[in-house]
Amino acid sequence: MGTSSFFEYPAPDEEQPPDELLFLSGQSEAHWRAIFAHAQPQRFRAGDVLIRRGEVERAIYIVIAGALEVVSVEGGASGARVIPVPTGSVIGEIGFFDARPRSATVRAVTDGEVRRLDHEGYEALARSDPALARTLLFELGRILAVRLRQTNEFIRGWLG
């Protein structure tokens, strides 16, 4: 989050902050294979809706190929907001934790594939590889903590 989402262009290297939103960055191919053994592959075509606003599901999605977009439609004059979800993105982590209705719709911009890890799949991973499951959970929690901190900082600056 932050104002960088309005200016998606490369900045000089020294201005690039470390990316705090990297998920499981140190994991090997074997670790990812262990995770995906419990995550269903799901192909999509351009225009398909993967996540619908208001639906309740406890699952995260990892975009293996293709591109999606999050479409958030608020009431009033705001209009639709679109957040690109390129290959390599991880989405759905808030619903994975709190099991509340999805806050936005996610639809496909191109054809592609995701891996869907739901709660049952996570429990199965936790039984087969507890350390990896714990790492995954802590990583999701860390990302949510980073987002909360960034939101607090932005709102502090906005209110002055």
Binding site: L22, W32, R81, T151
Partner: protein, 356 residues
């Protein structure tokens, strides 16, 4: 089809004017600049009238309504981008300190040049021509050495603070016709996303970035009052003249910060008010002055109608500037997706897991 964002970047905008038309306009701009410079040397009364009496009074309204049009056609920008167009720019990255504080250079230049109009540039065609030549040379050299528009247009040009303040909510959004491709030369680039660049500056976590913008917005109405209530003459003492300007601007800045303390509103709301205060003051003083130079002056009722029209335009602008703050904040606090560290590794693992 992707849903439309309320704040499209220039890459997402449709180009209503073809590139060749902007190129033609730039050539016309350069020729007009050359003619102006000649006039300032050989027929200074005509040159001074053309510059201070026609161009400068028109610019604030242009910045207010369609600032992108000026950004695309400005002769300074044309010279700045010529080295890139002809592929002999060194395309260096501006030093970090200059990227961060270049705006202060622009503000300082503006606050030095405007009072100097009273002392020199309003009366002396040669002096104004030399100033313009120096500015054109600086813009050109900025393009020779620095990549993108960071060498002048988006950092140190003294018109930049005015453009960014007035141009933050354009009535007509004009697509950037210079940067192909974008090289990411500055932060919160106006040419990249005109509708939100100023707010992004105001809410930047760097207090200097937002502070410089507030400082200029706060001082600007004071500068207007000082300028138009002071008689100009070559005989004016320099230091007292600048002190008088400084005093007026400090009072204006002080009022800005008092409002910030008393009314717990966002910085965007107060800077917008000061922007329209400066604009309406400018035309309140300038419209009668321009009318006085016409061969057949307009009657007072026409002057009041023009002033009322500008006030109405300013009021609509304020409402539009206030209204866009909410969707801006909503998008700014919307989280970007997390990413895996190595998409290739993840893709191979997915194929392996699938086959298993």
């Amino acid at each position: 089809m992707a849903a439309r964002s309320p704040f499209p970047t220039y890459l997402q905008m449709r180009a209503r004017v073809p590139l060749w038309a902007w190129a033609a306009l730039r050539v016309v701009g350069l020729l007009a600049t050359a003619a102006l410079l000649v006039a300032l040397f050989v027929a200074p009364e005509i040159g001074l009238l053309a510059f201070w009496g026609v161009l400068i009074p028109a610019l604030p309204l242009l910045f207010f309504v369609a600032p992108g049009a000026w950004r695309n056609a400005c002769p300074l920008a044309t010279l700045n981008q010529t080295p890139r167009f002809l592929r002999f720019t060194r395309a260096l990255t501006l030093p970090k300190w200059l990227r961060e504080h270049g705006y202060l250079v622009a503000i300082a230049l503006f606050f030095v040049i405007i009072p100097a109009r009273k002392l020199l540039f309003d009366h002396d065609g040669t002096a104004l021509a030399v100033l313009l030549l120096a500015t054109l040379a600086a813009a050109f050299l900025g393009g020779v050495f620095v990549r993108g528009k960071a060498g002048w247009c988006s950092t140190m040009c003294p018109l930049l603070p005015v453009q960014r303040l007035y141009g933050q909510t354009p009535f007509v959004t004009v697509r950037n016709a210079h940067c192909r491709p974008c090289v990411g030369c500055v932060k919160n680039c106006y040419d990249f996303n005109p509708a939100v660049a100023y707010m992004a500056d105001l809410y930047d976590p760097d207090p200097h970035r937002s502070g410089y913008r507030k400082l200029f917005a706060g001082a600007f109405p004071g500068l207007m009052v000082a300028f138009y209530t002071m008689e100009g003459s070559r005989d004016l003492p320099i230091a007292p003249t600048y002190l008088a300007f400084a005093g007026a601007m400090l009072l204006s800045v002080g009022s800005f910060y008092v409002l910030e303390v008393l009314f717990r509103v966002t910085a965007n709301k107060i800077t917008a008010l000061y922007a329209v205060a400066a604009l309406t003051l400018f035309y309140l003083f300038n419209v009668p002055l321009l009318n006085g130079r016409l061969g057949a002056p307009l009657p007072p009722v026409a002057i009041w109608a023009i002033e009322a029209g500008i006030l109405a335009l300013a009021a609509v602008w304020v409402v539009r500037t206030y209204r866009k703050e909410r969707p801006f904040v909503e998008q700014a606090i919307t989280p970007k997706p997390a990413r895996v560290g190595s998409p290739d590794v993840v893709a191979r693992a997915s194929r392996g897991a699938h086959r298993a």
